[in-house]
Symmetry: C2
Subunit: 376 residues, 2 copies
């Protein structure tokens, strides 16, 4: 009951690295897929959305070309990729999903891609998470994968992503598998729930991609407690999501923005997001500057009122502001920022019981360099 | 019937530059003030909001200190500033408004400030727009003011702002005056309307300030056609707003984002804003890269659906995409980006009659330098 994979080379990436990944599941699996909410969607996303009906047997992913903004040819090309996989693996065509990631607006060299899929299908081997992540990577600087085993329960996955990272889908590609059974009646709800707290709670640049997808695939080999399965899925998903932030274009720090004791969860979430995605906060963290003024200013910018004379703001463990500033704590926070790879900012609203955590990368010279010099 | 001004030096800015501005109106004027929607407001904003009742006789503005995040002392300090001006100019205390701009979280040296207000009030002279703008500037690299005369109608104003610039108030200080009469029953509606299309349609970094205010003051010297007055107010306001974007921290280009032929105005506005505020679009413009893929991806990221096979995207006059890409136009657009200080991006949705224009600066190494090195 192994998951198999094969890689191919269609010349979409420089240096002849693998740019085609085919994943062959041992049987038709119950699955849930969340696709980008961007209205300018990749043709591959449009194709997969239209054929997916809760079951999957195989997936084909190309990196180096987004199959997006290329007119209606893109839809035909996605269909041809699915047909080729279905034919070679002898599976139903509507159980094959297609994903693409890379540059927007370049026509797909479909003949090379189909021939690379051919090679990939003829050299199948057991799924190697690291190699799978590498095959779908673009500007990533390291592969993103994780594996977790709790008693009999196994959850594992791989992902890619470093830019155009912002919620409304995690803005990347991620595939998470479990050997446990998750019923088709609950898999989508459970998946959405995990997604909100993981891939939808990260940001690199606030820019939403055209090609995102996050798949959850249940191999259904045995039954386990659903809460235990859900917890493990969340753990693997947040691990993958954090790797994406850590590899955010030009990033030198991961910012963990925590809002505690809010009256309602949406308020905690929007404020945590406002802090983590503020360009001024992100540049301050890059400058190792405990600029708490920018943090509270971003916290005040959501539609939700905050009480500036009551809230408490911590940078690391340093209480820098609680209605008034604590200069000695600010100096402690400066040292903390210099020394910590992951920077935790905690805003305690002192008004309720709801909390949310949001992850983002800092904003650096290298982010500008990468994105000002990346040519169309 | 001159508007008078006086400047003072309280040592809030380095180099001994004026950091106190007092404006003395020749009579009590009908006025409208729009304040930042940020919930972490400057004490000066809280004070002015609480006393303002549609009439103004004098204003005092300090630069170099935001009077924000300093506890309840801030409210007392704002009140003391108003009291001092009222006493010296012999005007009603509740017709004096107080504004502050500068660093968040530093206590105000109130004695120096009151004594600088004293000096300012004893050396009044006719309003000089350039000097007024300079006195309220912080990180600005040039003063922002404009004057317009149409027949008997005069509209003029001054402003400051270069960072923490994003809608929900223009995120800056701006004061616009007219000699024409605007009734107290319509001034606020007219003001909000002008504000939406001007200061609320600009962005430097997507970060909303704690200290914004935009005042509209009618000297009421004669009556004129209200549409003519409104048009002139919009012209002066957009001129000031564009100067703020042009002086955006680290900016090398002004991005003018136009969405045309949308079904409803809100859709045109949100899409124009999404394009202009996308970090990926802003870095591409800095890199003189006609990366139309990023533009359409940002256009697709709002809640409004768009038809990717029907819309037309122009960079300058170059039609780069209309369901498919036009490589020769992309090369033309590259040249256009290299040569133009103001870069116009036009997205024609081909579905209705509504349009919106939004201005933003590009995102550059200097933005990072300024904001990573600006210390608390």
């Amino acid at each position: 009951m192994d998951i198999l994979m094969g890689v191919g080379r269609a010349g979409l990436k420089t240096g002849g690295k693998p740019d085609i990944l085919v994943v062959h599941l041992p049987k038709t699996c119950t699955a849930s897929f969340l696709f980008t909410k961007n209205h300018f969607k990749s043709a591959s996303i449009l194709y997969s959305q239209s054929v997916f009906n809760g079951r999957v047997r195989a997936m084909v992913i190309n990196s180096g070309n987004a199959n997006c903004g290329v007119g209606k040819d893109g839809l035909l090309h996605a269909e041809l990729m699915a047909k080729k996989v279905a034919e070679r693996l002898e599976v139903d065509e509507d159980e094959v999903l297609v994903f693409s990631t890379g540059v927007i607006g370049k026509p797909m060299p479909i003949e090379s891609i189909l021939s690379a899929i051919d090679s990939a299908c003829s050299l199948l081997e057991p799924l190697d998470l690291k190699r799978a992540s590498e095959a779908i990577s673009t500007t990533d600087s390291f592969p993103k994968y994780d594996f977790l085993k709790r008693d009999r329960l196994e959850v594992f996955g791989f992902a890619k992503g470093a830019g155009m990272i912002h919620p409304n889908m995690g803005t990347m590609l991620a595939f998470v598998f479990t050997n446990a059974e998750i019923g088709h009646n609950i898999i989508e709800r459970l998946h959405r729930d995990v997604n909100e707290r993981t891939f939808n709670s990260i940001s690199v640049d606030g820019c939403q991609s055209t090609n995102d997808a996050f798949g959850l695939i249940s191999l259904g080999l045995y039954r386990d407690d659903i809460q235990k399965v859900s917890d493990a899925l969340e753990d693997v998903s947040i691990s993958l999501a954090k790797k994406i932030v850590q590899d955010g274009e030009g990033a030198t720090r991961v910012i963990k923005s925590v809002v505690k004791n809010a009256s309602i969860q949406l308020k905690a979430r929007l404020i945590a997001q406002a802090i983590a995605t503020s360009n001024l906060v992100k540049t301050a963290i890059f400058g190792r500057d405990p600029n708490w003024g920018r943090i509270v200013a971003s916290a005040g910018s959501t539609p939700f009122p905050i009480d500036q004379f009551r809230l408490k703001l911590y940078i690391g463990n340093h209480l820098v502001y609680d209605g008034k500033v604590h200069p000695r704590a600010v100096e402690g926070a400066r040292k903390y920022l210099e020394e910590s790879q992951e920077v935790e900012i905690t805003l305690d609203l002192m008004e309720g019981k709801e909390s949310w955590t949001y992850y983002a990368s800092d904003l650096t010279y290298d982010y500008i360099r990468i994105n000002a010099e990346y040519t169309t």
